[in-house]
Amino acid sequence: MTIRTRLSLWYAGVLTASLLVIGVGTYRELDEQLRHNHRREPEEHAILETGELILQVGLPAVLLGLAGGWWLTRRALAPMAELTEAINKIHERNLREPLSRTGNGDELDRLTEVFNGMLARLNDSFNRTREFTLHASHELKTPLTVLCGETETALRDESLSAAERERAASRLDELRRLARIVDGLTLLAKADAGQVALKLEPVRLDELVRDNFADAQILAEPHGIQVELAACEEITVCGDRHRLRQLLLNLADNAVKYNQPHGQVTMSLRRAKDAAEFNIANSGPGISPEVLPRVFDRFFRGDPAHSPTVDGCGLGLSIVQWIVSAHNGTIKIESVPSKLTTVIVRLPLAHENKPPL
């Protein structure tokens, strides 16, 4: 049944009910007047009575009409609200799941069908982009292997002058940076395509955090940065040990890299309700509010004026974000520029973590 038919039918029902009310009311009022008919009344009284009549009968009818109209539109628009809610939940990762249809063949059902068609086309196009990235990173690896290998071979040549050696070594450094970028891209492209399987097992997060704390101290030492482990509660999560270590090291490395000389890094691991909460704060220049929502974007580099000499592959936080979401966790960054920047990672506790899809 189309919405038009449905609306027409409901409206007819409401109208009939209103007319009935008016009819019954008018009938009773007229009946009463007829009984007192013998008393003739002046003209002005008749006008007053007519007004009263309209008030007594008309008001309930108007109210009923309003209520009926409200109910009617609400019923008619309910599927629309559900559809809006469903569309609101769509993001690039669930394009494969079509919206559920009511199946009653109305205009909204037809709209859902058309919308699902659009989702499928979008999904195709996203897939093509992902496949392209994946193929591109594979294709890049072979020539990169050759370039790195040949440069290394050249470096082994004893007859090279110091200047030539320096040039070759610097070329090799850049090639390796390129290789790391390609590695990161491959990982993210695979993650996007849902092709990375995590090896899930119970992991003592506190042990990983302690290890990471030791590494962070070493990384911080040359810059005179103090690292502190404020709390480290015994917590087990269900996760992939290697990925979790990658996550922690990446965050620690960032906290040191984006800090100021002789700054401070504080990390903590605490149980927060039903989650493990890892916090890592640094006293660096921080991230301005307009840049903050974009820091997880691939190859995003905040204000170049703030981080002129920091090197890296530009994919670290994107990888971090992927690891967190693959573990059904959440990540958030809070920053008070030139005071404190805190990264907050929450991971579900072991018994509550369902394996990700």
Partner: protein
């Protein structure tokens, strides 16, 4: 020592061969899986360097075939696929080590070297390079009879280096063996640790033992 390199990409095969020959290995090269299986039937090799992506029969299939034939030659897998769990898949298929492309040549040589040594590893509990000693039972390090305090991680780093004296150790290999990282974190963690270790074992002593090979890795040896 005879190494078989199975790699279809000619340039890669060529520099791998050169690097291994420079280390004193005899090197044979095959460009596809079937040739590799034929070669292993004819010649006993000490190590096989096997690329996974080969035309026709792929590397994993060659590896399974080898192991079915009870051929226990150590195999180092190379791969450009970069699958996170490919390492596990390869090791399950019977590989002894795995190196993702693009790899560092020094890394490859060091790993091949490690595989050739696998059987005859130093069984002694006190390891020694010049006057530097490391007791693997008591975890005690000494240089010239003076005790050196090491953190757990520094100990593992030193143990790893001292077990391959005079041999180049690549950064990835160190990350894998000392930190158990199967990814390149893109940090200078190894360099910073090596610097600290150097301060402890070399700063107050002569000759210097821990050397950096620019663009390649580190080596613990007596001669500069």
């Amino acid at each position: 020592m005879r190494i078989l390199v199975v790699e279809d990409e000619k340039k890669t095969a060529s520099f791998v061969r050169k690097a291994l020959q420079a280390e004193g290995f005899a090197v044979d090269v095959c460009h596809n899986g079937d040739d590799a299986l034929a070669a292993t039937r004819a010649t006993p090799f000490d190590v096989i360097v096997l690329d996974i992506m080969l035309p026709g029969r792929d590397g994993l299939s060659v590896l399974r075939q080898l192991r079915e034939r009870k051929n226990t030659t150590p195999v180092l897998l190379l791969s450009a696929r970069g699958e996170v769990n490919e390492r596990v898949e390869g090791l399950n298929a019977g590989a002894d080590d795995y190196l993702p492309k693009p790899f560092e040549l020094a890394e490859l040589v060091a790993r091949v070297r490690a595989l050739t040594r696998r059987s005859g590893e130093n069984k002694s509990t006190v390891l020694r390079v010049a006057d530097l000693t490391l007791d693997t039972v008591t975890h005690r390090a000494q240089r010239g009879g003076v005790d050196i305090e090491l953190t757990a991680r520094e100990y593992r780093l030193l143990e790893f280096l001292i077990r391959s004296p005079g041999r180049l150790c690549g950064r990835m290999m160190i990350l894998e063996k000392v930190w158990d990282y199967d990814f390149d974190p893109g940090t200078n963690l190894v360099d910073v640790y090596v610097r600290r270790l150097r301060e402890k074992i070399d700063a107050n002593f002569e000759p210097k033992l821990l050397h950096t090979v620019r663009g390649a890795g580190y080596v613990l040896k007596e001669q500069p």
